[in-house]
Point group: C2
């Protein structure tokens, strides 16, 4: 009964985690498209989360996402194009431009939250609420407090 003695190959675990993530994100965006947000992309959701309800500067967004301010600026450009964010001059600091979510951006975010809640309830119905809660607890235990960080998106590309 060595700790490594297990009939399951280790390479499946990451694939299953990724597949679970992908399944949820795919369903989110399919439903988001149905609800009038066909242009939303995963990276946009993370960026809007980083902007937050109170707005933020491009540099702050970059820091929160763990990318350069230039990269954040490009993503914000994109968000502006599809109408989810806007830039306004910061009256208190001539260097800063405050990035704010538009009502449409807020709508996408609140819909996303509702859809995620519904998807989780589907999982709870299929697996059992306690089993799903235990799955989350286990992942939280293995990933630590960084498990809920938002700066994990861009990392795959590296």
């Amino acid at each position: 009964m060595s700790a490594t003695a297990d009939d399951r190959p280790g390479f499946e675990l990451p694939l299953l985690l990724l597949a679970g993530f992908r399944a949820l994100i795919d369903e989110l965006h399919a439903e988001l498209a149905r609800q009038g947000h066909p242009h939303a992309r995963p990276v946009h959701g993370f960026a809007m989360q980083a902007i937050g309800p109170g707005g933020a500067s491009a540099s702050e967004v970059g820091r929160r996402l763990g990318v350069s301010k230039q990269a954040a600026g490009k993503t914000i450009d994109r968000l502006e194009e599809i109408g989810y964010a806007e830039r306004v001059d910061d009256p208190a600091d001539g260097r800063r431009k405050l990035v704010r979510l538009t009502p449409r951006g807020v709508d996408a975010l609140t819909r996303s939250a509702a859809i995620f809640d519904r998807l989780r309830s589907h999982w709870a119905a299929a697996l059992g609420a306690d089993r799903l809660a235990d799955l989350e607890d286990a992942l939280r235990a293995m990933t630590g407090p960084t498990g809920l960080a938002v700066d994990t998106v861009s990392w795959l590309a590296t």
Copy 2:
């Protein structure tokens, strides 16, 4: 006791799944770098898996990864540069070039498998073997047979 009544917000689940995936992949590549493979990247591992021990054509690799043959060709270029794969003319078909893993590529792959096994055993030690097995079973149930597919890598970029 409605199915949607749960105190946990749904948005945490995908973040935890992604964080778990990222944690495993990060540890894999840190260990791989320590073992003499500092240039390996996640996408390369998936591509080498798609090439397989027997080799494959670029088009086959593309189909297995769910990307265009051109994209597969670029990734194979990269694998060739870092010495993990090579192209040889297929004597039986003048159009095809067989992509084969080099010994170094095979070494990276076998080391990866061993590292993944070890990482899984760490998880099993921390969580309990039965709890980890149940986590995998749950994910398998929610993702279906596609849960172990390799074609999930490039999708985030979209």
